[in-house]
């Protein structure tokens, strides 16, 4: 960065630095009792926390909150079970055939891919010319 040339620019820069500096300094000044080396008259710090209590309060409770929130976020998808994700190149579910040959619910799907041989099939499709289209994603 170029150094300020005009006096106005220099003042603006100094003001900006002062504002930023005070932002950092004010909380530290307010927290000055925390840095006290000598006790004031009448203060009562009480007994210190044990290691176990410190871990419980400063690690245990945040971890518990984290777990609860994570659970709340994940619960719906866990309840819903496996779901389709594109570009995963795997498919876990048994075939379903809606409006299939016999069943409305696709129970016949397992025997769907047995039967007519491919040769018969191509002969058939050439003779009858079904239409259609395909797509990938």
């Amino acid at each position: 960065m170029k150094p300020p040339t005009t006096p106005e620019a220099r003042t603006r820069r100094a003001l900006r630095a002062a504002a930023l500096g005070s932002l950092a300094a004010v909380p530290l000044l307010l927290a000055s009792p925390a840095f006290a080396l000598h006790r004031d008259a009448g203060d009562d710090p009480g007994p210190g926390m044990s290691a176990v209590a410190t871990i419980l309060v400063y690690i245990g409770i945040p971890a518990a909150i984290f777990c609860v929130i994570a659970l709340l976020v994940l619960a719906p998808s866990i309840a819903r079970g496996n779901r389709y994700r594109p570009h995963q190149l795997s498919w876990w579910a048994a075939p379903v055939w809606f409006g299939g040959p016999r069943d409305e619910r696709g129970d016949t799907a397992d025997r769907a891919l047995t039967g007519t041989s491919l040769k018969e099939l191509t002969a058939y499709s050439e003779a009858q010319t079904e239409g259609g289209a395909s797509a990938r994603w």
Partner: protein, 129 residues
């Protein structure tokens, strides 16, 4: 193949309803197959289509989520109502919904698109006053 249902009960209902509506509106028979298909998808889709009761007036949509591919097969009579261009539009619509991970929604959309094209009655004598 690991166990698991492709669709929730709600999604199955939606698809069944979309099929029923499409059949009612168009008079064609609609069928949707979702599962991995071995070998050439087009050939297998035609084979599945042949197994349908009224294959000539049936439209079959085969979706292979493993290979990210789908195939629409229209029977000889159905082809007159849903030409290859309309089938291509429906296929593209489905593929774009599948690509964001919504299988059931894509199927319902695609069936709607196929139904709309099938609904249109051929205009005869359009050039006469």
């Amino acid at each position: 193949m690991p166990a698991g249902e492709a669709f929730s009960a709600r999604q199955e209902q939606d698809i069944a309803k979309a099929i029923a509506t499409a059949e009612q509106q168009s008079g064609l028979k609609f069928s949707v197959y979702v599962g991995s298909v071995e070998g050439d998808l087009h050939a297998q889709a035609v084979r599945l289509h042949r197994q349908l009761a009224d294959a000539d007036s049936a439209v079959l949509v085969v979706v292979d989520p493993r290979r990210n591919q789908l195939q629409i097969v229209t029977g000889v009579d159905a082809k007159r109502r849903v030409d290859d261009r309309a089938a291509g539009l429906a296929a593209a619509a489905m593929a774009s919904t599948f690509a964001v991970g919504d299988l059931a929604g894509g199927i319902v959309n695609g069936l709607g698109s196929l139904m709309e094209h099938a609904q249109k009655a051929p205009v005869l004598h359009a050039d006469q006053p």
